[in-house]
Symmetry: none
Subunit: 218 residues, 2 copies
Amino acid sequence: MTIRVAIVDDDELIRIGLRAIVGAQPDLEVVAEAGDGADVPDIVARTRPHVLLIDVRMPGIDGLQATRHLLATSADPPRVLVITTFENDEYVYDALRAGAAGFLLKRARPAEMVEAIRVIAAGDSVLFPAAIRRLAGAYGGSGDDRVRAARLTDREAEVLRLMATGRSNPEIAEHLVVGVETVKTHVRNVLAKLGCRDRTQAVIAAYESGFVNPNGLP
Amino acid sequence: MTIRVAIVDDDELIRIGLRAIVGAQPDLEVVAEAGDGADVPDIVARTRPHVLLIDVRMPGIDGLQATRHLLATSADPPRVLVITTFENDEYVYDALRAGAAGFLLKRARPAEMVEAIRVIAAGDSVLFPAAIRRLAGAYGGSGDDRVRAARLTDREAEVLRLMATGRSNPEIAEHLVVGVETVKTHVRNVLAKLGCRDRTQAVIAAYESGFVNPNGLP
DNA sequence: GGTCCGATCCCTCTGCCGGGGGAGGCCCGG
DNA sequence: CCGGGCCTCCCCCGGCAGAGGGATCGGACC
């Protein structure tokens, strides 16, 4: 099956280069191109790409915003591969946090680029699976049973996620920059809503209901 | 040309393991070892390694600070490969932002580790997806790694499994028909072997390493 | 304007959890 | 035979967790 690729970059030269590289592969196909992040929802809806190559830095709607919006609204979003010039671009990390599946350096060799696209399209492997899933899960809506049924508030969900990283109450407090007492209140509410006796049971519920996931897989 | 590798980790066991793995490769050579991030500038200046393996989490100067300092002061710094236990460790993001070239999971297989070192040493191919893919590599399906590496006894494994069902120590004791003190001893041993602070972290490790799984699947 | 809810913080108090010891019985293997 | 794992149980103790109260503030909603 050919992998459907969409390219979004404000620099036409980059688009031409990427199109040439991607188009030369028998198993890859460029199904859409755009020069503005604002077009992303439209082209995704129309062409249903498997992989979306998008520049983090663009005038108007940048890759970060586009990614976030996409994962928040699309029922079956493409895998997002962020394009960047500098490997230490701070936006990249924000993009990854927003749910991007990986990133690609503009100066990477063509063979590396297409390999990255294939890897990303395969979906189940790659970069920071757990972290990405967690973040994507926070924005997008993939299924929890018990946790979703608990109707946690944003803050409570955040606290549960931190509990599921093994943090103690003081550590969560530090991370959220609030008092320990506040965290304890949230924890108490989470436990009550989930019907759990202690934080360990809550973390188990989080795993079992897919609120958090081990090493990958939706 | 042999790739010169320096290893910095506060855990001597990890250092021994890495040294054994790296040293066994004909094209890799361990030129320095340290247990404290404070030693990094010194060993880098003295031994001029190509690749620096460093643990993100260490008492005193951690990998993050060491990396930052190194890249800020060294004229020709080594490529930094960060060592971490959890792939979603928040420090990892910070380390990458600080200039690390990639990260290595402690539970990765030796072949994946040396491959990662070679990729990093090659320098220009800093493509994360490709590198990470080799690291995360064959992860899926059956991978106890962390838990298996802990070499738990039968009883300890049984206790961990019960911990992962959300049982308290008294409940585990009742289930196993032994005293609570016995259970506490097993729990203590499990925590020590897994390097966890509390039972919640142990349960997370059990899920993340596939020792137990949500809802099904091998 | 009043009500409800979410987020924040504070207090007390019970108790299990987890660390650090030690100690006896068992079976296996050198 | 005797050492070493493993399982079992015991004591002491500091500390955080979790229950149960109550309080303030802001925004959303009516």
